[in-house]
């Protein structure tokens, strides 16, 4: 699956990257948290950011989302992150935060619909998109339930659906970029697999995806490229199978890690 998508990318090598990051550095309280980070993500590509705790993964994602100013360049659709008008940017860029606190009794459908806030497409179109996305992420049966009463995994799927809604249609905005901070948090195995499939699908429809993941197996199976961070520095960046090697992983996590061939797919799996 992975190699097939790489080939389709190879057919259009001159495509302008949706996200281009050049020499990004970031300091807070005199501590340098990120140093000299450069990469780009074209439409249709899934980039996984991996690394040990405290490596700066979430910080990097926050900077990409425009929450923190940084040194260096972050270009979205060729335009500097800070130069986008907020509302316009929201049509192109959707962000899934690590935690979400919503304490008000909105229904699942309403929360998902909030993803359409930046779009002026009208209630009928918005509602249709909400229904499609809820089907895609298997939360249609939760539609009328109240968000605060959901389980952790159900809340996470609802938030992901909201983010999907924001960049669902090419007709609304292009290029489109999704930034996901640990999207599989609180999801059971079945829903992890389903979510990854949904992410692959939406990427195929032209969305560039950057996600922070902890589960290396998910990165191995579903990411086109991987960026490995350690102490704020890029230790490796490139195609998934080239980056996630035993030596890189052992160095990255300071642990005895073995890669074994997946029995059914041309990918590897991690074991300790």
């Amino acid at each position: 699956m992975n190699s097939i998508r790489l080939q389709s990318n190879d057919k259009m090598p001159e495509r302008k990257p949706v996200l281009h990051v050049q020499a990004l550095s970031f300091s807070k309280n005199k501590a340098q948290l990120l140093r000299d980070i450069t990469f780009s993500v074209p439409a249709g590509e899934v980039l996984a950011i991996v690394g040990p705790n405290g490596a700066g993964k979430s910080t990097l994602l926050k900077i990409l989302a425009g929450d923190e100013p940084c040194h260096g360049d972050v270009l979205i659709g060729g335009q500097h992150q800070g130069q986008w008008a907020l509302k316009k940017r929201a049509r192109h860029l959707a962000v899934l935060p690590q935690f979400s606190l919503l304490n008000f009794p909105y229904t699942v459908e309403q929360v998902v619909g909030l993803g359409r806030t930046p779009h002026a497409t009208g209630a009928a179109v918005d509602n249709e998109i909400v229904q499609q996305v809820m089907q895609e992420l298997d939360i249609a049966y939760l539609q009328g339930r109240l968000y605060p009463a959901l389980s952790g995994g159900e809340k996470q799927r609802t938030q992901i659906a909201r983010v999907f809604c924001q960049v669902w249609r090419e007709a609304d905005a292009n290029p489109r970029l999704m930034l996901l901070d640990e999207p599989t948090t609180a999801l059971d195995l079945g829903h992890q697999q389903q979510l990854m499939r949904a992410i692959t699908q939406i990427a195929k429809r032209g969305v560039a995806v950057v996600m922070v993941v902890h589960d290396i197996n998910l990165a191995l199976a579903h990411a086109d490229k991987v960026l490995a961070l350690q102490c704020g520095e890029m230790v490796a960046y490139g195609n998934t199978n080239e980056v996630l090697t035993e030596s890189v992983l052992q160095h990255l996590f300071s642990a005895q890690i073995k890669l074994i061939q997946h029995p059914d797919k041309p990918t590897f799996m991690v074991t300790l």
Binding site: A65, K88, L102, Y106
Partner: protein, 344 residues
């Protein structure tokens, strides 16, 4: 929830019309009940301009301005309560959290104690009310400045700064009371209880103009308020100019509650209980919640005012005592049952 959210959207016109009919009924009740009861036919005669002089005086000089003031103040308080709960992302927040009531109370005390020689009016508004309004505004401005840094306004800091300012202005009021004489103390405590007995057309018109401005302005922020509840950076990622919205909302609450407190003293729990109860009925979407809160607040204060005038007639209870007396148990029951409404 009684209505499903899509049901509310579907039947919105009927719902709004129904609420307005209830409001009109309460307005009629408010005019009809009091130390002297007026029958519907008497009110009908008055509407045609054929009533007796006594009825005309009771209605036009006493009950009508009072009814209008109660309606506007109730609507202002509930509207500001809804906004405050959204702003703090907490369904149990109250406008007094950002210091406006305490500031207004200190402002009133300052005028009563230090400027006791002044009995003049400003454009028909007693100087105590002006002092209260200014006190409320200053308190909110200080709270806002404390909570606003380079990274925008922190709602959590605002909450804590509001508590600090409430204590500070409270101690200021206490110092003033310490030096006040008996007559001043009586005036301060009467002012604090809140009441609509000083109602006149000027007061009602001031409250009405602020209410109309807020009723036009706030529903435009409904979408932003919904997004805001997800969190500030989430709202920004949905394209909302968070700092601008916060500024609009804080100024609205300061002016709205400031005017309400200045004209009617502190009337507790309307701003807390009304939005909360309506959220249970129609859900939290601000497009529906904001207008219905305004109507709900007006209804609640109209009915409370009728009770306050009739319970111990021919004298009357300050309406603030009544709303607090009814509101506190209601609030405690909300706290105990909030899980059932999907709130944590």
């Amino acid at each position: 929830m009684i209505f499903h959210s899509s049901g509310v959207a579907l039947h919105w016109r009927w719902l709004l019309s129904g609420a307005l009919v209830v409001l009109c009924l309460c307005a009629v009740i408010s005019i009809s009940f009091g130390a002297v009861s007026l029958s519907l036919s008497e009110i009908g005669l008055w509407l045609q301009g054929k009533s007796s002089l006594q009825t005309q005086i009771i209605i036009e000089d006493i009950r009508l301005p009072r009814m209008l003031l109660a309606l506007c103040i109730g609507a202002l308080l509930a509207l500001c309560g809804t906004v405050t709960q959204g702003l703090f992302r907490n369904p149990l927040a109250d406008p007094s959290l950002i210091g406006v009531s305490a500031g207004a109370s200190a402002g009133a005390s300052i005028v009563i104690v230090l400027l006791s020689q002044l009995h003049w009016n400003m454009l028909g508004v007693p100087v105590v009310s002006v002092g209260a309004f200014i006190g409320g505004l200053i308190a909110v401005m200080v709270v806002y400045r404390i909570a606003t840094g380079v990274n925008g306004t922190s709602v959590a800091t605002m909450l804590l700064a509001g508590i600090a300012i409430t204590f500070l202005t409270g101690s200021l009021s206490s110092i003033l009371e310490f030096y006040a004489d008996d007559e001043m103390l009586r005036r301060i405590s009467l002012w604090r209880m809140g009441g609509l007995d000083a109602a006149n057309y000027t007061h009602a018109m001031i409250a009405a103009s602020v209410l109309i401005v807020l009723l036009v302005l706030l529903p435009q922020t409904a979408k932003a308020l919904d997004a805001f509840l997800l969190g500030e950076s989430e709202a920004r990622h949905l394209g909302i100019d968070v700092d601008k919205i916060k500024y609009i909302l804080i100024v609205s609450v300061a002016v709205g509650v400031g005017v309400a407190v200045a004209l009617a003293g502190s009337i507790a729990f309307v701003g807390l209980v009304v939005p909360h109860m309506l959220r249970m009925l129609v859900g939290p979407a601000h497009r529906f919640l904001l207008p219905l809160s305004a109507i709900g607040g007006a209804v609640l204060l109209l009915l409370s005012d009728v009770l306050s005038r009739t319970l111990v007639a021919p004298t009357e209870l300050p309406v603030g005592i009544l709303t607090a007396f009814l509101g506190a148990p209601l609030f405690i029951s909300l706290l105990r049952h909030r899980h059932e409404y999907g709130m944590r």
